[in-house]
């Protein structure tokens, strides 16, 4: 076993929090090396360093005895270090095969070899036991567990020397895990180093050769797995160097079952930092009073499976368990964020339906939620501390919607004092505060609202010890005043120290209540791991449900009625449907066909629909012509739409990468003016001129690209500015309408080949010789990747800037083609700003009608061309049907508006409102 990686004296801090303190660590080839520790022990920070995602503040990394400095994940990948992250790094809009080969696709003549790529994907999916996943499926259509297997497959094809699996199994089904075991063992045989991070002790004892324990950012010990038992390892993870102090719990309390229990053994006098002077019984707890909050059988799409609980005033009830067992969803459900809940919620004994947070916070309900991620869900980072503090209670502090500054100031000063928020200046952005103080602002925001029930979603994550103590004290104090607190934490110790009782979640159920002396670390961990459950897996419905909340558009797996009689594996009584529906997909031909069709439809619905609409319009149009479907008709339709089609194609490229190009119409205008000036003379001169025209478009595109990519200016506004410049140049070239173009060339546009007009052939040529190769170039595929998820593209080590640059530059070129054609069709040039604006705006419309996502990541030229023709044919169609010309613009607008609203149906179906609000 040769050593592959060594870390020396590594320290990593995030803000004020030290995630890793002076860590020495090494791992060797041909071993499975488990890294264990509690939440926040520093495991994930360590892995991010090794994978090149972050850089250490101090210390060195050596790979095979050579010192290494990683700048990005691709550097680490180059050395054979590949990481499977907990948060996936997949590109949702790309196919499974694309994702698997994203870093180094197989190539043929410089193009991505799709067939080989598909074969590679099939092979590796077979290897990980997921032969049922079709390589052409879009990742976002897969359930979460399948996505995780794709992520694993993606790592395997890179032939890693060191593979890091960071909680890689959190969403997998039992069957998948068995495959994974086999894969991991196979990797060891091949001499690969495996770093395996998991909360699940059974997995670790089954797999690992060597185990390292981390605690509080420190490397505690590394030892051969055979030398210790699980029972010996668990205490090492828990340890307790710095005894944290928790405020004393009230000496009596009534749990939901109204059984008084003895005081917690944990709160010994030495750890008590705060003893309340008031009576030990809680003020509002009265057996006859209805509980503040009562849930009966709360259920949400298999993520919450019949949750019942009671919360009395003055009580702190913990939610325990592994990450992602439905705890966050439970809190969100209570707060009115989730749609489609069943079961009953009672507040003060009254059945209540909470539809949105605004209702949840209202006085008669009185809920407050401290969300999971304070940076994106709790705070408005650039806004002032003051503004953040008053946001939730704004309507209480104002009168008739008017802000009462002095009242707000008094209130905020109060809460700032009470929570001891350390800030020099309350008008400073909340971003400038430390993590702990930021969290205090989130809490303060809700205290101002004077809630009666506090929902805490892991509020101490990433907070320093001192602030934690203050928060603990505050929680107890608030409970003392009669608040009920539902407290989810990933820190077991804190749950034990703080809670009157803890409900352990597993697979969306509450599997056990721990209180009194039972509430101890050992019980909590063993219950959380559900060690009594042989499979140690979340139940499958849970996993299915999570998938549906992530990939809302996911098709239902093969309906139950289609399934063969379920063969129920004895060990997993709860999984039959899933297992069978999958085997059906593999074995049944007829289903494969329908899946192929549904895959094709999902990917191409936009282009197909827009083509269908155009076809209908065209047939209607042609049927009204005197000569029927003659070449003339074709030519006139084709020539009318071709310019917009080119501009729309240009726009498509930019939109695919997640941007907008508001200068395409102006580039088109500029080049058409240029050609009205120079596109003339002998054939040689004309050819040269055409070349110059296209080059000028390319240059304009490159300028846009430079400003957006290197200047880092928002595309919308950057192209707005460059558009003005290009229009100015157009005016310079052609101060008044006129000019002329080479007649032979413009006549060519009226020719046809076997009845097919030249402009149509030109479009076909572009599809075949520009679009198709571009799509299959790495840079083209990366355009999709960037638009789909810039973050995932970065994590996959893609050249983001290059892809963007290519998109903008090529867009300039295509717009120039449009300009050239316009001048040939109109036989002159005109620098008209309304014409430029018309083409820019209609290009976006054509793209939208053609089914390209305006958020980037999916779509293509064909749809945009159809969209352009739809837009351009409407007026002709209305004309031949004798519709008053006056109606035409209105129809155009309504069709456009209707087309974009179709996409809205999707949004209205969202089950989790958090996904609606960006």
């Amino acid at each position: 076993m040769s050593e592959f990686l060594r870390l020396k004296h590594i320290t990593k801090r995030y803000g004020g929090v030290t995630a890793l303190a002076n860590v020495d660590f090494a791992c060797s080839l041909g071993t499975i090396h488990a890294v264990v520790g509690e939440n926040g022990a520093g495991k994930s920070s360590l892995m991010k360093l090794i994978a090149g995602v972050t850089r250490p503040d101090e210390g060195e990394i050596y790979v095979e005895d050579k010192p290494i400095k990683f700048v990005s994940p691709s550097d680490a990948a180059a050395l054979g270090i590949v990481c499977i992250f907990q948060e996936l790094s997949l590109l949702p809009d790309l196919s499974v095969a694309d994702n698997i080969s994203i870093a180094d696709p197989p190539k043929r003549f410089g193009l991505i070899d799709r067939r080989r790529q598909r074969r590679i994907a099939e092979e590796v999916l077979q290897r990980v036991g997921c032969g049922d996943i079709h390589p052409d499926e879009r990742v976002k259509d897969l359930p979460l567990s399948r996505q995780q297997m794709v992520e694993i497959a993606k790592a395997l094809v890179r032939n890693p020397r060191l593979i890091i699996m960071d909680e890689a199994t959190s969403a997998l089904t039992a069957r998948d895990v068995e495959h994974l075991y086999r894969i991991v063992r196979g990797l060891r045989e091949q001499g690969v180093a495996v770093l395996y991070i998991s909360h699940r002790m059974p997995e670790i004892s089954a797999l690992a050769d060597i185990c390292s324990v981390f605690r509080n950012g420190k490397h505690i010990e590394t030892f051969p797995m055979s030398s210790r038992t699980t029972e010996e390892i668990v205490p090492m993870m828990i340890g307790r160097e710095v005894a944290r102090a928790y405020p004393e719990k009230p000496s009596t309390w009534s749990s939901s079952s109204n059984q008084p229990s003895a005081p917690s053994t944990k709160s010994t006098p030495s750890t008590t930092v705060h003893s309340r002077a008031d009576t030990p019984t809680r003020p509002h707890a009265h057996p006859q009073m209805p509980p503040l909050l009562e849930l009966k059988d709360l259920t949400w799409y298999h993520v919450l499976n019949g949750i019942s609980l009671k919360l009395a005033p003055g009580e702190i009830v913990g939610l325990g368990g592994l990450d992602g067992q439905g705890q966050s969803e439970l809190l969100l459900a209570l707060f009115g964020v989730l749609r489609g809940l069943s079961g009953e919620v009672r507040i003060d004994g009254r059945p209540t339906t909470i539809e949105h947070p605004r209702q949840a916070k209202s006085r008669d309900i009185g809920l407050a939620l401290i969300p999971q991620d304070r940076q994106t869900q709790g705070l408005l980072l650039p806004m002032s501390i003051e503004d953040n503090l008053v946001l939730a209670a704004s309507s209480d502090l104002s009168r008739f919607g008017l802000i009462d500054r002095s009242r707000e100031q008094a209130a905020t000063n109060d809460v700032v004092d009470k929570l001891r928020i350390l800030a020099n200046n309350l008008s400073a952005p909340v971003r400038t505060l430390s993590g702990g103080n930021q969290q205090k602002v989130v809490i303060g925001k809700w205290l101002l609202k004077q809630p009666r029930i506090l929902l805490l979603n892991d509020p101490t994550r990433g907070i320093d010890v001192g602030t934690k103590q203050e928060l603990y004290r505050l929680m107890r104090e608030l409970a003392g005043t009669g608040l009920g607190i539902l407290f989810y934490s990933t820190d077991y110790e804190e749950l034990i120290g703080m809670c009157d009782r803890v409900l352990v979640c597993y697979g969306g159920r509450l599997i056990r209540e721990l209180s009194g002396p039972d509430l101890n670390e050992h019980n909590l961990i063993t219950t959380s791991l559900n060690l009594s459950d042989n499979s140690d897996r979340p139940r499958d419905p849970m996993e299915e449900g999570r998938a549906s909340s992530h990939a809302v558009e996911a098709p239902p797996t093969a309906p139950q009625s289609d399934a063969a009689p379920p063969k129920t594996p004895a060990s997993h009584p709860s999984t039959p449907i899933r297992v069978d529906s999958r085997s059906i997909r593999v074995h049944s031909r007829s289903h494969t066909w329908s899946h192929t069709w549904s895959r094709f439809w999902k990917r191409n619905a936009g282009p197909l629909l827009s083509f269908f609409v155009f076809a209908v319009m065209f047939v209607l149009f042609a049927s009204q012509q005197a000569n029927g479907l003659s070449t003339n008709v074709l030519t006139s339709v084709s020539n009318k739409g071709v310019v917009l089609a080119f501009v729309a194609m240009a726009q498509t490229l930019v939109i695919l990468t997640g941007g907008f190009d508001l200068s395409v119409g102006m580039v088109m205008t500029m080049t058409s003016c240029l050609s009205s000036v120079i596109l003339n003379g002998s054939p040689g001169q004309t050819a040269l001129a055409a070349f110059a025209i296209l080059a000028s478009g390319l240059l304009a595109g490159a300028i846009n690209a430079t400003i957006v990519v290197i200047g880092r200016i928002q595309p919308i506004i950057a192209t707005l500015a460059t558009g003005a410049i290009y229009f100015g140049i157009a005016l310079l070239l052609r101060p008044s309408p006129g000019g002329e173009v080479n007649e032979d060339l413009s006549n060519a546009l009226t020719y046809d080949v076997f009845g097919i007009p030249t402009t149509f052939l030109l479009l076909v040529g572009i599809i075949l010789f520009v679009w198709w190769p571009f799509r299959n170039l790495v840079v083209g595929r990366n355009c999709y990747a960037v638009g789909s998820s810039e973050h995932a593209a970065y994590m996959s080590g893609l050249a983001i800037g290059r892809a963007r640059f290519a998109a903008y530059a090529l867009a300039g070129l295509l717009a120039a083609c449009g300009g050239l054609l316009l001048s040939l069709i109109s036989l002159s040039g005109e620098a008209s700003s309304s014409q430029g604006g018309f083409y820019t705006l209609n290009s976006i419309a054509a793209v939208a009608i053609g089914g390209t996502s305006l958020f980037g990541g999916s779509g293509g030229f064909i749809g945009s061309i159809c969209g352009a023709f739809v837009l351009r044919t409407i007026s002709d169609l209305l004309f031949v049907f004798n519709a008053p010309a006056l109606w035409q613009p209105l129809f155009q607008g309504l069709i456009l508006l209707g087309a974009v609203c179709l996409g809205a149906v999707r949004v209205l179906r969202r089950k989790n409102q958090m996904e609606v609000f960006m």
Binding site: V53, R55, F335, V337, P357, T376, Q377, G378, L379, L380, L381, P382, M383, D387, L391, A392, S394, L402, I403, F660, I707, G711, R712, I713, Q714, I716, I717, A718, L720, A721, T722, A724, I725, F727, G728, I729, A730, L732, P735, I844, A845, A848, L854, P884, L886, W887, P889, L890, Q892, G893, L894, L897, V900, C901, G903, A904, L908, M914, F917, M918
Partner: protein, 316 residues
């Protein structure tokens, strides 16, 4: 000092400095450039753009954009003048009808963006096309009355104590908008939704209503702009709103409002409007051709964006 040079104020200071530079250049070319009369004239011209930009700033603060402004302007002007000459109303219907049209357009935009979640760029674009269609339909058959009333002319052209009335209207609109942004819950909600709609939603902010409110405001100011422009040019005509969309956006952005939403001060938009109007005016004083004006206009916009409009690098 540090309180003045905050990140939020930097663009405003830079834009103000730019204005001074333009005035200085203008002065060297023609001393009349800095005369009171000429400047008042510029302020009058700026009023129209300022009114239109003021409302659409609220939409940009949300991180959205309102591309339906051009034809909202035109439609409000058309509808306003259409009812202006109804007997026994003394032309007073202009404002309720015109502004009501603007508010209605804003309402539809707001519903499309807030509820249907259609990207605002495309929804308002479609709305613009629909409005254009409606106006064409309305004006096409017959030639409806489109002449400005006396009241409109008074507001847009006349002066009081030597100061253009249009400027008073702009000031009044500005006062209302500043009040909305700074003194009402709506204003605070607006910034919070623009910063991060998700966090605002979880704080119980009625985010959808806020979005609708912003679009309605934008529609109303565009409509008011249309009515004022009609008064200024004595007639409502098709396409009268077209030259106002892009300068309005440019003015807002030059004034330091983030195109992605969440930050920006109203005073910045005022400065941005003045900057654009003075820039255009200086270029015409220089007797520069339209071509040169466009190029310099775009160049200045780009230069200022490169100075302070850059987004941060991809995070770790």
């Amino acid at each position: 000092m540090n309180r003045i040079f905050t990140k939020e104020n930097q663009p405003i200071i830079a834009a103000s400095a730019c204005i001074l530079v333009i005035l200085a250049i203008g002065y060297t070319i023609n001393h009349n450039f800095v005369s009171a009369n000429y400047l008042l004239q510029q302020l009058e011209v700026a009023s129209f753009l300022g009114i239109i930009a003021g409302g659409s700033m609220l939409v940009i603060l949300l991180g959205h954009i309102d591309l339906s402004i051009p034809w909202t302007i035109t439609m409000a002007a058309m509808m306003g003048t259409a009812v202006a000459h109804v007997e026994n109303t003394a032309g007073l219907l202009v404002f309720p009808v015109g502004l009501g049209c603007g508010a209605l357009v804003g309402l539809v935009n707001g519903v499309g963006v807030a509820w249907l979640r259609v990207p605002s760029m495309i929804f308002t674009l479609g709305m613009n096309a629909v409005l254009q269609g409606l106006v064409v339909l309305y004006t096409g058959g017959a030639a409806p009355a489109s002449h400005a009333t006396q009241l409109m002319a008074t507001l847009a052209v006349d002066r009081t104590f030597g100061i253009p009335n249009a400027l008073f209207v702009w000031i009044a609109v500005s006062a209302i908008l500043i009040f909305l942004l700074r003194a009402t819950q709506f204003g605070r909600y607006l910034y919070s939704v623009g910063n991060r709609e998700r966090a605002a939603y979880l704080s119980g902010v009625p985010t959808r209503l806020v979005i609708i409110g912003a679009f309605i405001t934008s529609g109303i100011t565009a409509a008011l702009g249309g009515i004022m422009l009609t008064g200024y040019s004595t007639k409502a005509y098709q396409g009268m709103g077209d030259p106002y969309l892009l300068p309005a956006i440019a003015a807002i952005v030059l004034g330091g409002t983030n195109v992605l939403g969440g930050s920006g001060r109203y005073i910045g938009t005022v400065i941005g409007v003045l900057l654009i109007v003075l820039l255009q005016s200086m270029l015409s004083v220089l007797q520069m051709l339209e071509a040169g004006r466009q190029i310099i206009y775009g160049g200045v916009l780009l230069a200022m964006l490169l100075i302070y409009g850059r987004s941060s690098r991809l995070r770790e």
